[in-house]
């Protein structure tokens, strides 16, 4: 059964989605990731979607689910690399992905994770500015 590789870098799990996933593959990823977070006691999850040309409501919900589930397992999730066309479309679609922290790329995503791991009490729940 095909699946998406999950890399472990220290206490962060890195997932790079490079294929146009069909629904079952997405569900498998969700499950695999949850298992790995639990089994490795990972503290952070970095999902790189820079190769995704389309993110529809199913994938959007998957990302939200992963963020929620990892939080329950005491890990932070950051989604990085969303393409402009995808961001514009998601906003129009009405998917705000509340609860999912985002960063521009893997580097910045890692910075964000490390910052939150260092001082979790100082960060707000979803990392966005409350103004």
């Amino acid at each position: 059964m095909e699946s998406i590789p999950i890399l472990k870098m220290g206490d962060v799990l890195l997932v790079t989605i490079q294929v146009d996933m069909h629904d079952r593959l997405a569900i498998t990823l969700q499950e695999d990731l949850t298992d790995r977070i639990a089994s490795t006691s990972a503290q952070g999850v970095l999902i790189d979607i820079s190769a995704l040309e389309v993110v529809d409501s199913f994938i959007g919900r998957m990302l939200g689910n992963i963020a929620a589930m990892s939080r329950v397992l005491d890990a932070e999730t950051v989604v990085v690399g969303m393409r402009p066309a995808v961001a514009i479309t998601l906003v129009e679609l009405g998917l705000s992905l509340r609860g999912v922290r985002t960063a521009l790329n893997v580097d910045k995503g890692m910075d964000l994770l490390r910052a939150s791991l260092r001082s979790p009490a100082e960060e707000s729940a979803d990392g966005t500015d409350e103004g």
């Binding site: 389309v54 529809d56 409501s57 199913f58 514009i88 129009e92 679609l93 009405g94 998917l95």
Partner: protein, 134 residues
Amino acid sequence: MALTKDDTIPVHSSEDIVWVRQTVRTWAVELGFGLVDQTKLVTAASELARNTVDYGGGGTVQLEALNNGVHRGLRLTFEDHGPGIPDVELALHDGYTTGSGLGLGLGGTKRLVNEFEIESRPGEGTRVCITRWK
């Protein structure tokens, strides 16, 4: 209005949904749509294809490349003979879908296209027709 290209593909499985996305993307590129418009159309197609599979028991999508003299366009007609949508108005309402994991994503999908038509009769099936003009 000239119809320059016409094709119908089956939509029964989640692999079909991926195929629909890729086919719509190819057609949109051929018709000269910009990247953002392509993405909106492909995403809309993905939403409707998924509805057809998940709620319609499978069906078809007809792709039509259009030309109305000034603009080129792409029309997609999703059709199934499933249980139908009892309350179309409700399904179009945004609250039906956002974030809750339920719902058909119709309100959002409507915003991604220029023309949106839906016909549904409980017990007979559903037909959704979307068009995006360049």
